[in-house]
Structures are given as structure tokens and as C-alpha cells.
Symmetry: C2
Amino acid sequence: MRACVLGSAAGGGFPQWNCACPNCRDLRAGRPGLRARTQDSVAVSEGGERWALLNASPDVLAQLARYAPLHPRGPRVSPLAAVVLTNGDLDHCLGLFCLRESTPLAVYATNAVRRGLVERNALCRTLARFEGHVAFRALELGRPVALCDAAGEPLGLEVVARPVPGKPPLHLAGDPPSPEDNVGLWVRGCGGGEALAYVPGAGALGDYVAHLEGAGCVLFDGTFWSDDELVRLGLGRARAAEMAHLPVGGPGGSLAALASLGARRKLFTHVNNTNPALREGAGERRAIERAGWALAEDGLEVILE
Amino acid sequence: MRACVLGSAAGGGFPQWNCACPNCRDLRAGRPGLRARTQDSVAVSEGGERWALLNASPDVLAQLARYAPLHPRGPRVSPLAAVVLTNGDLDHCLGLFCLRESTPLAVYATNAVRRGLVERNALCRTLARFEGHVAFRALELGRPVALCDAAGEPLGLEVVARPVPGKPPLHLAGDPPSPEDNVGLWVRGCGGGEALAYVPGAGALGDYVAHLEGAGCVLFDGTFWSDDELVRLGLGRARAAEMAHLPVGGPGGSLAALASLGARRKLFTHVNNTNPALREGAGERRAIERAGWALAEDGLEVILE
């Protein structure tokens, strides 16, 4: 199975349009050691002919334009066949509306995520231009599903969605929480082989961590380095925990908890523009690298064997 | 007043992610005479300090990143203060959700467009994170309005919205049509001076055409060259007229009707990826240029005097 990290930033991207924090400012000024990142998404394929996206970011059009294996093969014939969502956050769903131009797509989501999207937003009708345009299919927690295109043709990929502590998206705040609000995805070729474990949002550790062990590649929530990152920079009042993101750093952080994880490749993704680890050579970045982890980067390809 | 064409393509952009029509194919292959275009939007400013967008395209983040006058001036201090919408089409509104990161914005739209967006989509709650986050204000047909930021500070810009034949967005098809569904915008500095007339979607001629006369710059619907453009390319069944776009070419087209328009600068924008005029040197492009018109391009700056 092939995977390509199309985007590795948290909501807003890096740099973020309205942000002049030290990271965003220095990146815009062209200082070395910082790389632009679009919003979190991964493309996966068994064989390279037909592809599925894990999340559809608001930057999806730029992401598809940059990655030649996803360019169309004929008039309105796209290799993109399916999208799998981890939650209903806008940085993971908004791209669906950028993909509305009549190419049939299958969209896999938990029932909670699908309902929040389809039943609450008239915009979704733009994804139902004709019978078979966008086919929503249910992700059931813990149950493997063989991905198919909108017409039911198998893509040779199997996905398991597992619940990960999170919360409903901001625009559905107040809705009763559900274990279906936020999932991680374990993706592998149907013939077996290594799994890609993709957990771009994690508010805490949990049962799912045991399933990261032995993965060919783990992509894990790297949003914030510290719980009070936004507060200390004067950019917001919310702590990482309130936004359902376990920070990477500190004694209770994900790096300490997952440092010894037995996975071949271990990458942080969904990195917020304020995260000090974005800066090459920074102490936080070195700590990540010393632990055998790395930051995912846009365009990074991974082969799962 | 300064204006910058941030995007000059119709919905989907050029090239379009799922399209391999001759234009899209040749642009991807790097053949000369074709230029990439993002989706239709214009930035305007009186003085260059604070800006308003005319439409918020799905490509807004890439558009803001490319245009230095719209980069933030301090931590979460953006020069972008307002957005004015011409209709509720996704290629004009989706960018609002990309601008959700807590910078206060004023959004000007007709009541019909605002209702279709805000009352029918839970997603819009992401634009109401705090009191004064996104302030919707009504555009009344034919009535000048002085644009202000979300806090009510004037931006030195005056806008008049005039009805232009169109239709409700695809996702609200079936709703009763209203003259508020689609408008053109006439924008000038509050101190007077030349107007920018911005009519990116026009299903037919009408009373509004008289108001194009004498504008410093006209940006007009250049979506399709011919009524059956999509049908002949085998890309769709809809004719331009059904999609509420008056074609540029032919005896009944906008070029013939507006060739002698007395405006200083006359540009077609919102150009679909299939339009043969996208190709430099093509007969259709030469016909546009012979008539004293041109195609708008991403990044094109216009000074209104």
C-alpha cells in the first residue's frame, strides 16, 4: 500500500492567514528551518491506480494539484474514488464541497459524523447532484470495512475505525457527545501487510493505543507542544485539553507516553502553526527526533509493506 | 481605490481537479499559452491598509498567502475586515469557512443569500464563536452602503448591489427565486472616483447594464464561450443558459452586446476551465481582445482613480 501525506498542519494551515506568531512570521519572511504545511489529509492506494483520501481538507484542491498520481486520467475521470473521515471538524470535511464537480465518490464516516454533516447542512445537497454522486457509507467502530468506490467496486483497501477521545466539532457544540464523534483509522491492503495508523486528533490516551503497536506507520496528533501554548502566545484562551488535543511535550504528553511504541515509522501530524517543534533545530524538535519520532511533511510518501 | 483580482476562474478553478479537457490537460502538461487560475474573488481597499473581499472563494487561503497586502500585521491582526457576497454559490461562499479563525469580519449579503447560508447550515455556527465574530449585514438592492468592519469602523468604501438575472445556488434549488439571489456590485471610494463594477455571474442582460457605462473597470461573467460548451466536450448535459450564465461568444453573447461599452477597462472573469478563450492566440481570445476587452488574471491589480 502507498500513502502520501497531502497535508500535515492543523486547522488553518501553516502559515495561518491571520496569524503573525513567531513561526508564521518567520516562515513568511523566508527564514530557514521552517516549511509551509497545508491542512491534514492523507492519500492511500493499493496499487497506485485508484485512491482514497483520509479526510478532505479545505486545501484539497491545491493538494490534488501537487500530487500527480491524483491527476485525472481522462475527461472527468479521476483516480480519486473515496474519502474516509475521522471526525466532523471543518479542517477534515470542508474539502468535500471542493470535490463537488460530479465525480462519483464514496464517503465513509461514522453515523454521528454523517448526521452532523448531511442532516444539518443544506450545502450537502451539492454532493447529491444525481443518483450515485456521493454515496455515504457507515464506519462502525472496531469493524473492518473493505473500501469501495461509489459504484461498489472494491479498492483493495481495508479500514478499521476505532474510537479516540475527542469531541463534536465546534459548530455542533452542545450536541450529546458520542464515541463516534472522533475516530482513528487503521488502513491496510486487503491482502494483508502493514497497517497505516492515522490518529490526527486525540484528546487523551485510551484503548486505541494498543493497536498502534506494530503498525508500519503511525501518524499521530501533533497539534500542540504544550497545553497552554495558545494562552502563552496571547492568541487564545483555550487550552489544548479543552480543544481535545493531547499535547506532545511534558510528562503527561504523547511523546513520553508513546516514545517506546513498537512501530516502524512514527510521525506527528496535524501540527498547529504555534507548535515550537515546527522549527528545525529547536529543543522540542530535537526531543521528538531523539525519541525516534519525526514531524510529517506535506508530500511525504510512505510504502506499507 | 485599489483592486486586485485574487481569482479569475469559475467554480472548480483552472485546472479543475477532475477534468482532463484539452485546456486542463495542456495546462498540466506545461504547454505555453495557458495560465492557472483560482476561483473568482476580488480584494478592494481605499488606502491599502484595510481590505474587503468581493466573494470568498474556496481558494481564499492560497489567495491571501500570495498577496502580501493581505498578510497579517501582528498576532492575529489581519488587514482583511469585510467580505461582500454576490450570491450563495459555493464558489463564492465556501471561503468564509476557511476564514473562521476568530478574526472579526463583517459579511455583507442580501437577505436571501444570508438566509440560505446561515439558517440552513449548522456549519455557520463556526463563524459565531463569540459576540462580534462575524457580523452579517444586509445588502439592499440599489441602495449604497458604506462598508464597515465588524466593530462598525468605516473602511472608506461604498458598495451598491444591483439585481442581475441568476438563480439560487444548486444546493437551494427548489427554493422560490428572488431578485436578491444574484447581484452585481458597484464599489468605489467613499470620496467618489471611479467605480469597479463586478458582475461575475449574469444569466442575461438587464437594467444593470446601463450602470456598467462609465465604470473605471468592469469585471463581467466570462464563464462560457458558447451555450453548449459542456455538452460538446462531453462533460455535462447542462447548457450555459440553464446554469444562469450568458455566454461570451455568438450573436446573442455578452461580447456582442457589450463591445461598445464606455468603460475604461473591460475584463471577463469567472472563466470556466472549458472556455476556449483561455488559450492565448485562440480565435475566441483574439475576438475578445479586438473588441477592447481582456481576460482577468489572478494577481491583476487595478487602480480606480
